[in-house]
Amino acid sequence: MSYWRTVWVLLRKDLRIEARSRETFVSMSFLALLLVVAFGFAFDARPLDPGTEAAGLLWIAISFAGVLGLGRTLGSERDGDCLRALLLAPIDRSAIFVAKWILNLTLLLAMELCLLPLFSVFLRVPLRPALPELVGIVFLSTMGFAAVGTLLATISSGSRLREALLPLLLYPLWVPILVASVKLTSLALIGRSVLDGSDWLVLIGVYDLVFLVAGTLLFDLMVEE
């Protein structure tokens, strides 16, 4: 079976499980909604400064809700010790990482798709003029967020303290991309070209690449007993 066919078989299984339980998507989206509502009340009727406050709050909501979902990366494998079953299968084990990364990316993007319009409504931030740039930034950053999250969720999955361990490991590594995302989102929301922040774009691109390659190469080592 080809590598990408293996990835598809693994991903299809995970999507089917998520479609039935909706566990990850619902919990992430609910937290994102809760944060946006809380921010909305905190700032009351005052319009946010799109160049500073709005970008920061958007990425805070994405970060907190995202970690909740990333923590469930290997949740379906824990039940019934299915990760060991996958390790027994005659497949390239890095395909498991790639499938989990695509799953996390899909779920995070779906959560963000729900979050953006709610954010615009509750915080009275007009997103429409900056929408194409914003979608691009969110997509690029989420690729890296999903990659580093999948990698660290795998590392922490063997620990009994995994729920506490993942945020501790993830947030420090997520900071560079979080800062870059906030800066680029600020530029987009004040109507400037994101190319004015090309250094931040390069940082996100390199970050995505590094963690995708690292996850693919190291997954086998991380899951070995």
Partner: protein, 243 residues
């Protein structure tokens, strides 16, 4: 022809070693039963043979090739029935088997899954989620899963757990059929009553070492039990810690 060859296998979990130099061979088509008290290292041994981890020392060869846990091609030859169900509770019985069949590249997966569902008497439960199965039914699903790809080496870790008499018979039929096609089978069990159904050769793990017991008659449960009690009088194996 030697299917499995194990030499000088040592393993532990930081404390005293559980396996202290395991040596044995398993021929093609041979079925061997492995006994030992809790903590003797039976599950640890089977896990290492399945490629789920690296031994501290020693070598495992399957059909003459050294077992490397990162080499996918040798894993195709192995079937493993573990204590865990290895099944996804939110997938149906059929979906669980279909998923495994695809991962192992089984030809005509739908046909093979349908056939095995019949062999383990799970056809009526095929479209129910795995979480709805009883312990025994779940064990049947695990059995079907472990033989789905017709492995050349089948490792069964206490396969009788939760099985009723019909389940035991189904297991025996399936393993005998596989053995007839040259599959080698290594089974751990605590169930002395069904020894003769599960294997032809008897061995046990004592103080982390493999000991063959060629003189014992598997039909004579009392004889095996007496020999077992004599060997293991004094409690569990030293340095135990079955994983």
């Amino acid at each position: 022809m030697t299917r499995l060859s194990v030499r000088g296998l040592r393993h532990g979990y930081g404390g005293p070693e559980v396996l202290r130099g395991v040596d044995f061979d398993l021929a093609a088509g041979e079925s061997c039963l492995l006994l030992g008290p809790n903590g003797a290292g039976k599950s640890t041994l089977l896990g290492l043979l399945a490629g789920l981890g690296r031994p501290l020392k020693g070598e495992i060869r399957i059909e003459g090739r050294s077992l490397d846990p990162r080499n996918p091609s040798l894993r195709r030859q192995l079937g493993f029935l573990s204590h865990a169900s290895f099944s996804y509770s939110n997938l149906t019985v059929r979906e669980n088997l279909r998923f495994t069949a695809e991962l192992y590249g089984v030809d005509n997966p739908d046909e093979r899954v349908r056939h095995l569902l019949g062999r383990v008497s799970l056809r009526a439960y095929a479209d129910r989620p795995a979480r709805a199965l009883s312990r025994g039914m779940s064990q049947r699903l695990s059995l079907a899963r472990s033989v789905l790809h017709q492995p050349r080496l089948l490792l069964l870790d206490e396969p009788l757990t939760g099985l009723d008499l019909e389940g035991v018979n189904r297991l025996t039929e399936l393993t005998e059929e596989l053995r007839g096609t040259g599959t080698s089978i290594l089974t751990t069990t605590h169930d002395l009553a069904h020894l003769r159904k599960l294997g032809r050769r008897l061995a046990w793990l004592h103080r982390g070492c493999w000991e063959d017991m060629p003189g014992l008659d598997l039909h004579d449960t009392a004889q095996v039990e007496a020999a077992y009690l004599e060997r293991f009088a004094g409690g569990p194996a030293e340095g135990g810690g079955e994983a």
